[in-house]
Amino acid sequence: MTDQLLFLLRLGLLAIVYLTFFRVLRAVWVELRTENRAAVPVPVPAAMPATNGASSHAGAPPPAAPVDDSDAGSRLVVLTPPAVAGQVFELQAETTIGRASDCAVVIDDARVSKVHARIFERDDRWVVEDLGSTNGTLVNDHVLDHPESVGPGDRIQVGEHVLELA
């Protein structure tokens, strides 16, 4: 009797363990699926900055984020220093800012790290992240210690250069 009980308990133990694995796999599956769904609308506004986005967002919730309104807020305009002021960069799905020549926005300034910061799109918003730069990144005059979302009018400063999202 006890032997049979122990056997059943042992099967129960194995069942719990395998059930745990099943839940783990399900969690991973759900996560990957959500990620893929979230990833679908991302490239659309970045790839086609000129369209109004309405047609390409058939199934998505009504766009409220600044990126989708029009092409407003999808450009970086250099404000200072005067030598390069007025230069405009179109934002890509990911725009890197830094001193290195393969950055999307190359800034010739000794206080700017090789790959200093990046602006990328996440859930219909632009997000600025400092990439571990030596001298830091300022957003609207406060130090960026954490990726932050930005919209039109926000100012990003790296070294002596101030870029405005327009």
Partner: protein, 437 residues
């Protein structure tokens, strides 16, 4: 950015930041139930009584799990929920089997588990961003080499069971090599970030010099410490990370040639290597002597059958070093194929999660570091389980989280915390910039 925004426009925080921890809570409850049942079963199997200390044991176990879980909620709220529960499951199952094999180890192993969880929480606390580790890559590399050499220092190092991998400070014995694994993984990743562009653009003979150095170093570990397992582990770690960093297959080919060359040289030069290979090829040549451990391990696995003899009802105590090197055979005997496969699956899930962290990383250092840490777990599991199952010659090394052993447990919890930290960092927690709202 007005107050009227509906949830879909701000989907990140509830979905990605909170849900992983809720999933983790659910998984932890299941793992807790499994370990509690296993503990009760093991005790009932040996003494035919419900264990008297079941209450304190459960309290201790759930307490440690809760501490780690709360640390995740606080310091790594976005991390993958798979890491902690699976590791605790392996740790818990290992603990049950260890105490069942040798009751005197119970207190020690539970203390080490507590220290391990402490190390886990401390790592999450003191490493807010893994990229800060990159700055100390050379320091960590030198530190790793020094750690490896500690056991060779007369007076500090101790030789136990033929391997000189122990250091003794007062009453405490530990294996510095377990921590050297971690610092060397950080060093390899950091070093290869620096030289990656060069390696990718062209590959000349002298660019392969670092593999040569790693190879010589591994051979050194093997010759001076007589520790085949670690030697294999370090070499594989370096070749895999270098392969991914350079994106060149030739690295794997050169690595394989060097490995087999080194293995052959070691085989011709060292008696103890020759003996290992002979035992591997034919353990039944001397079943009561040299082959005893492997033979008993095979018998144990065979005895286990599909669902095992039952916890506490087998005789895994016959196998020498059943609580460290041969714990996989002990689990196979008492929980059968189903139980030992579960252990392998747990490692598979853990390694899969680790590789996902590496795949998702958008900075090279994190990518290579996560890969290195995962490789350590994977190779270590393969080497010891393969040794027990006679897939490869046996080299004494611990089964991560499962085997008895303090250094290994603590080092693996630190390793886990680093993966959890990187996993958390990959979730961008978006908050509106000040001044725009």
């Amino acid at each position: 950015m007005t107050a009227t925004e509906s949830p879909p426009t701000h989907p990140v925080s509830p979905l990605l930041a909170l849900k992983p921890r809720r999933v983790e809570t659910g998984l932890l409850v299941m793992v807790g139930a499994a370990v509690a049942v296993a503990y009760a079963l093991a005790s009932f199997g040996t003494t035919e009584a419900i264990p008297a200390n079941l209450g304190p044991f459960l309290l201790w176990m759930f307490g440690l799990g809760a501490v780690a879980h709360l640390a995740n909620r606080h310091f790594a709220s976005g991390a993958d929920p798979v890491f902690l529960p699976i590791s605790l499951l392996l740790n818990g199952l290992g603990y049950v089997v260890i105490t069942r094999l040798d009751g005197s180890l119970a207190a020690l192993q539970s203390t080490w588990t507590a220290i391990g969880i402490g190390g886990y929480v401390a790592t999450l606390l003191f490493v807010p961003r893994v990229r800060i580790i990159e700055q100390y890559r050379y320091l960590l590399g030198i530190g790793g080499l020094l750690l490896l050499m500690i056991p060779l220092v007369p007076g500090l190092g101790t030789e136990i069971n033929g391997a000189r991998i122990w250091a003794s400070v007062g009453p405490i014995n530990f294996q510095p090599g377990e921590f050297a694994k971690l610092t060397l993984a950080a060093f390899f990743a950091g070093y290869l970030v620096d030289s990656r562009e060069l390696l990718r653009s062209r590959l000349e003979l002298r660019d392969l010099a670092p593999i040569g150095v790693a190879w010589a170093g591994s051979l050194g570990v093997m010759v001076f410490q007589r520790d085949l397992g670690s030697s294999l582990l370090f070499f594989t770690l370096f070749v895999v990370v270098l392969w991914v960093a350079s994106e060149r297959w030739v690295v794997l080919a050169v690595g394989a040639v060097l490995f087999f060359g080194g293995a052959f040289a070691a085989w011709t030069m060292f008696d103890h290597v020759q003996k290992r290979v002979d035992i591997w090829l034919d353990p039944f040549a001397d079943p009561k002597g040299d082959g005893f451990q492997i033979v008993e391990g095979s018998f144990a696995l065979a005895d286990g059958g599909l669902t095992g003899t039952g916890l506490g009802q087998g005789e895994p105590g016959r196998i020498p070093f059943a609580e460290t090197d041969f714990i996989f055979a002990a689990i196979g005997e008492e929980l059968g194929l189903a139980g030992s496969s579960a252990v392998l699956m747990a490692f598979l899930l853990l390694i899969g999660s680790g590789l996902r962290v590496s795949l998702r990383a958008d900075r090279v250092f994190e990518k290579l570091f996560a890969l290195g840490l995962t490789t350590l777990l994977a190779v270590q599991t393969f080497v010891i389980v393969g040794g027990v199952l006679r897939v490869v010659p046996l080299t004494g090394i611990t089964l991560p989280f499962v085997s008895y052993g303090g250094s290994s447990l603590v080092a693996n919890y630190v390793l886990l915390a680093l993966l959890v930290r990187m996993s958390h960092e990959q979730r961008v927690l978006i908050r509106p910039a000040k001044g725009t709202a």
